[in-house]
Symmetry: C2
Subunit: 271 residues, 2 copies
């Protein structure tokens, strides 16, 4: 948990997605959303000026594993009707990050004052959905056991660029015994809209990761004897692309403070 999270407002845990969104909107919830409204899809938010929207959309199309698009808004429209009733993307996330020219400048709890007629919202799938499926199947998810963030690493695997967007693939890592890793491949393959099957397992150096104990984002986790690290494409990849593109304005969710949608996780299962 970050300093922000521990300072956050989180009195009574909402039990439905809409209750969480309304609590965030009212300023009554600014904590992370892990474990809130279990069973419902949570999404990574990226908001960009329309001038960059086409290139970012193409970047997502060309990199579907790290950037699985759940929805794209219309210019100037802060709703996202396919993902939930009455969503207001300016207020309904517990906390945001605001970037100017690619530099983090603020972490507000609403972005009404920043909204413009040319802003376009992108919602990208999040591994919370496939982790729920892994847990339901009895597989261990180490960072959840340890109560920390998932470890994430920049790799030497390039994304497919589109306009100013490019850069390295970022992966998340979960240690698993080989038998469980095989089952995790099966389970996560069913969820192409939330990163799908892993991209690598085993030797970290093979994808340019020097030290598993020093993740680039998130927290290190314990790897037990007999376990192998398993790597999935990660929704932080578009943030790395954003840092490269340096848009004059971009707004994202604060890490762990996701949009909680009305869509059930099971609706993302391809089979």
């Amino acid at each position: 948990m970050s300093a922000i999270a521990s300072a956050a407002v989180s009195a009574a845990a909402p039990s439905t997605p809409r209750q969480l969104r309304l609590a965030a909107r009212a300023g009554a919830w600014s904590a992370p959303t892990a474990d809130v409204a279990p069973g419902y899809v949570q999404g990574n938010l990226t908001i960009l000026p329309q001038a960059l929207a086409a290139d970012f959309l193409l970047f997502c199309q060309r990199n579907p594993k790290p950037c699985p698009l759940l929805a794209v808004g219309s210019p100037g429209d802060p709703s996202l009707p396919t993902m939930g009733a009455d969503i207001d993307l300016r207020t309904d996330l517990p906390r945001y990050r605001v970037f100017r020219d690619g530099v983090l400048v603020d972490e507000p709890t609403d972005v009404r004052a920043l909204w413009r007629d040319d802003l376009v919202a992108f919602l990208i799938g999040c591994s919370f959905s496939f982790e729920a499926a892994m847990l339901e199947d009895g597989l261990p998810v180490r960072h959840i056991e340890q109560g920390c963030n998932v470890p994430m690493y920049r790799t030497n695997l390039p994304t497919a660029a589109a306009g100013p967007f490019g850069g390295p693939l970022v992966v998340s890592m979960r240690p698993l015994k080989p038998r469980d890793a095989i089952r995790a491949v099966q389970i996560t393959s069913r969820f192409p809209a939330v990163h799908g099957a892993p991209v690598h397992f085993g030797d970290p150096a093979a994808i340019g990761i020097e030290d598993l104990a020093r993740p680039d984002y998130g927290d290190p986790v314990r790897i037990d004897a007999g376990e192998v690290p398993v790597f999935w494409a990660c929704g932080v990849t578009p943030q790395a692309a954003m840092a490269q593109a340096q848009p004059e304005l971009s707004i994202t969710h604060a890490p762990g403070h996701m949009l909680v949608t009305d869509m059930r996780n099971t609706r993302l299962a391809s089979f």
Copy 2:
């Protein structure tokens, strides 16, 4: 088979995707591509001016079942490196359709003379891939048995619009016994990149189809006793959207004359 097809050049059937593309490029193959290079993905081509490309990309993102994008080219670039070595989209399809302001004006065998620096190519998945999986599983595919085109129908189901692109969902229909229809749901669910699971089965009127014997595109097929019509989202949907948007220039493959790629059908299976 259309008049065009029967007049087409198709001397020796190429056995690999690249051989087919080179034969088309050399003017030695202008016939349909069904049954050519079995096992490889064939795609629906749409080429548009860059000014409309962002809206069309968004239209595809919002309508993934009828418009599953396999690849998007860069402006002015007639290659499509993720789909095959040395592809030249101006020459490598056996036949094209050229539209001016939404109206069909020509069906040439290459479009080099029309190419411009601002043209963007979109490749959309095609049901050939899931039909191959159905046939391998022993399921009947009626229009293949009858040697005609699949019947396609405009429905009363709207697509999600994006800019000038919108209009009705177009579906293709394959009659199946209920047991086979269930299996077909399983098989085609594995192929989200080529329209995925059906959108409807049974009563045609429920989705606005008046008469199965009079398809809007393709040919009618026989429905045997005990069979139900099963409807899949169809790659003709973007053509209907194009007719609505009336771009000053658009180029597509001629029906049945697809881009034959180097990607194996099995690579599109989500699981």
